[in-house]
């Protein structure tokens, strides 16, 4: 899951990015509206944390541009502007959630998690796919009730698969959503992670669709 953080205050940006990274997201950062808008336009993010009072281009304007261009990733506005007038214009511009500063980091993480989950069409924080259960809050994975230990990268791949279960995901899509911008991307590593996941869960959990990509679906269901 890739998240973009657009925040001009360096300390806060670092704190938010760090917390999101620790929670298992691949995080890109932008210090101003211009760069934020560019990244949001060009990279496929699963969620955006957007400040409103940004240098160069205001957050509301950035959001408006994205929505006009058809970019529909969930956006959480994180701002010090707490008047109802600003909240209404934030939501009207197309925000999906609104959090005012100061805030508790757990609150931010919970909201980002919920945003991603809802966007993928899941109502509960625990996602299931056949015998596999994934707790989005703790990142805990169980296979038929037994805890499975996964590395950070394996978890990222599994998280993306289980959020989008039942759909064929291309290698490019997986790479784009799993690695942040600065990561040296190598398509082979994806294959390695998938091989490891098949081994740790069950081989039939992740299917290969020749020339198209991979899919994860409960056993017995076909894509």
């Amino acid at each position: 899951m890739r998240v973009l953080v657009v925040e001009d205050e360096p300390d806060l940006r670092r704190q938010v990015s760090q917390a999101l990274s620790e929670a298992g997201y691949s995080v890109d950062e932008a210090p101003d509206g211009e760069e934020g808008e560019f990244l949001g336009d060009t990279e496929p993010y699963d969620a955006v944390v957007l400040d409103l009072g940004l240098p160069k281009v205001d957050g509301i304007t950035v959001l408006n541009h994205w929505r006009q261009a058809g970019r529909d990733m969930p956006v959480l506005i994180l701002t010090a502007r707490d008047s109802w007038n600003e909240k209404v214009s934030g939501f009207d511009a197309g925000a999906d959630d609104y959090l005012t500063k100061p805030f508790h980091m757990e609150e931010l993480l919970a909201r980002v998690r919920a945003l991603i989950r809802r966007t993928a069409g899941h109502a509960t924080p625990i996602l299931e796919c056949g015998p596999v259960e994934f707790d989005t809050r703790s990142g805990k994975v169980t296979m038929s009730g037994t805890t499975v230990s996964l590395t950070a990268h394996e978890l990222k791949v599994l998280s993306y698969f289980i959020h989008h279960q039942g759909r064929v995901l291309s290698q490019t899509e997986l790479i784009e959503h799993i690695y942040d911008q600065d990561f040296d991307r190598d398509s082979n590593t994806i294959e390695v992670f998938i091989a490891r996941l098949r081994k740790k869960l069950a081989p039939e959990m992740i299917k290969t669709h020749r020339g198209r990509g991979y899919s994860m679906s409960p056993p017995g269901e076909t894509v």
């Binding site: 205050e9 707490d82 007038n85 009207d92 100061p102």
Partner: protein, 447 residues
């Protein structure tokens, strides 16, 4: 009163002038007419004088009249129409109408010059007299001829004229006063227009003075508009400033709070507590600073329908995870077209806090109802949550105290609403809702 209204002042002054001018004009006219009537009267008498003179003849140094004037008025006894011919103080002839009387003449006319004067006649009636003295050939004395006519003829003619004159002048006066009033009302209409527009601005119907004003009033209107613009700018600037300050203070507070969350021990707890306190203070004072300044600022009107529908959209998204993911259903009743006196953002802030509180406490439903009476618009925010026991309602209202720490921010929100409501001469009250929860009623002056 005279000093307060320009219209009344103008009308009173004009009426004074009109009355004075008409009285003086009427007096001059009636005097002039009287002189004219007297002159005509005298002219008639003078012709009789000349007639009698032509009848006079001197025989042996004695004067006698060959013939007497034939006008029957001079024959009817004591008619007021008399004549006398006097030579050297002796009456040598007189009209039959004088009967046995003589005119009490004190004045002897000077030769060659007709004089006229008033005299009391034999019956003490007022007479108009024309007298003239002549020299006759063969007579060494002057002959004086007096003719009189009743003065009441002159008086009556003058009176009749004066009556007509007064009638006409009163009519003229009324016409002039009416014209003055029309002029004043029409002439001062731009001022009235200014007053109406000001009233409209005060009630929040319009934001600026618009329309065409005459040159004399235009500078005033322009200055007023500038003042109104300036006011709006000041509010906007204060608001921007407050927003910037919020950003400048709250971001570092967020950083501090996050750092504290990552630390252990008592100092971290203290830090968290202090950050929370500072945040509450910042929120409260910025909310106050943002308030547009209440009803003291003219020209403010807020569309309740627009505000509540905007808030409904927003709040339904904010609270969409409530009620097992079904969210809160917000219904708006009769809010369309309702306007309150006040700044849009201030009213939005009040309603936002109240509706947000209702959504936080509600199980599944929130309803906003607007009611309008003569002066005020009453907004009821109902929810189907737990409500507040009657005994605690005053307490909640007075101190904006948090009754339940589990749902944060409710206390502070209510407090700000209360302060804003008072600023706008409105009021806030709590009651029981027919939905089962709390009913918060906000009364605001209607626009």
């Amino acid at each position: 009163m005279l000093g307060r209204s320009v219209s009344i002042r103008l009308i009173m002054l004009s009426v004074t002038w009109i009355v004075a001018a008409l009285i003086i004009g009427g007096w001059v006219l009636s005097q002039h007419f009287r002189t004219h009537v007297e002159n005509s009267f005298d002219f008639g008498l003078e012709r009789h004088v000349e007639e009698v003179l032509s009848y006079a003849e001197v025989v042996d140094g004695k004067v006698s009249l060959r013939q007497r004037p034939t006008d029957p008025s001079y024959l009817r006894p004591l008619s007021g129409w008399y004549w006398e011919v006097v030579v050297d103080g002796v009456v040598i002839d007189r009209s039959r109408s004088l009967w046995d009387q003589l005119l009490a003449l004190k004045l002897a006319p000077i030769r060659g010059e007709a004089v006229s004067f008033f005299l009391n006649g034999p019956r003490e009636e007022k007479l108009r007299v024309v007298a003239e003295a002549f020299t006759l050939p063969g007579l060494d004395k002057d002959i004086a001829i007096y003719f009189t006519g009743p003065a009441h003829v002159i008086d009556r003619a003058t009176e009749e004229f004066t009556e007509t004159l007064i009638g006409s002048l009163v009519l003229l006066g009324l016409g002039l006063v009416a014209a003055v009033m029309v002029q004043v009302i029409l002439g001062l209409r731009p001022l009235n227009l200014v007053r109406q527009k000001l009233a409209a601005i005060h009630s929040g119907e319009v934001e600026r003075m618009s329309g065409a004003f005459p040159r004399e009033v235009e500078p005033l209107v322009n200055d007023l508009n500038k003042l109104l613009d300036h006011n709006a700018q000041v509010i906007e600037r204060a608001r921007t400033h407050a927003g910037n300050l919020a950003h400048a203070l709250k971001t570092p507070l967020a950083v501090l709070g996050n750092e504290a969350d990552g630390m252990d021990g008592s100092s971290a707890a203290m830090l968290r507590e202090q950050v929370q306190t500072m945040n509450d203070l910042v929120t409260r004072h910025l909310a106050r600073a943002r308030a547009a300044g209440g009803s003291g600022v003219p020209g403010l009107k807020a569309d309740v329908g627009e505000i509540t529908s905007g808030l409904k959209r927003t709040l339904q998204r904010i609270h969409q995870r409530k009620n097992n993911g079904q969210g809160v259903s917000i219904s708006l009743v009769n809010v369309r077209g309702q306007n309150a006196v006040g700044d849009h953002q201030d009213i939005e802030e009040m309603l936002g806090n109240l509706m947000d509180n209702a959504c936080k406490w509600a199980t599944s439903r929130v309803r906003v109802t607007a009611e309008r009476d003569d002066r005020d618009v009453m907004l009821h925010i109902d929810d189907d949550g737990p409500g507040i026991p009657e005994a605690q309602r005053d307490d909640v209202l007075q101190r904006g105290k948090r009754l339940d720490e589990a749902t944060p921010g409710s206390g502070l929100g209510l407090n700000i609403v209360h302060e804003l409501a008072e600023l706008y001469h409105g009021s806030l009250s709590l009651g029981a809702s027919d939905l089962g929860g709390l009913r918060v009623s906000l009364r605001l002056p209607a626009a």
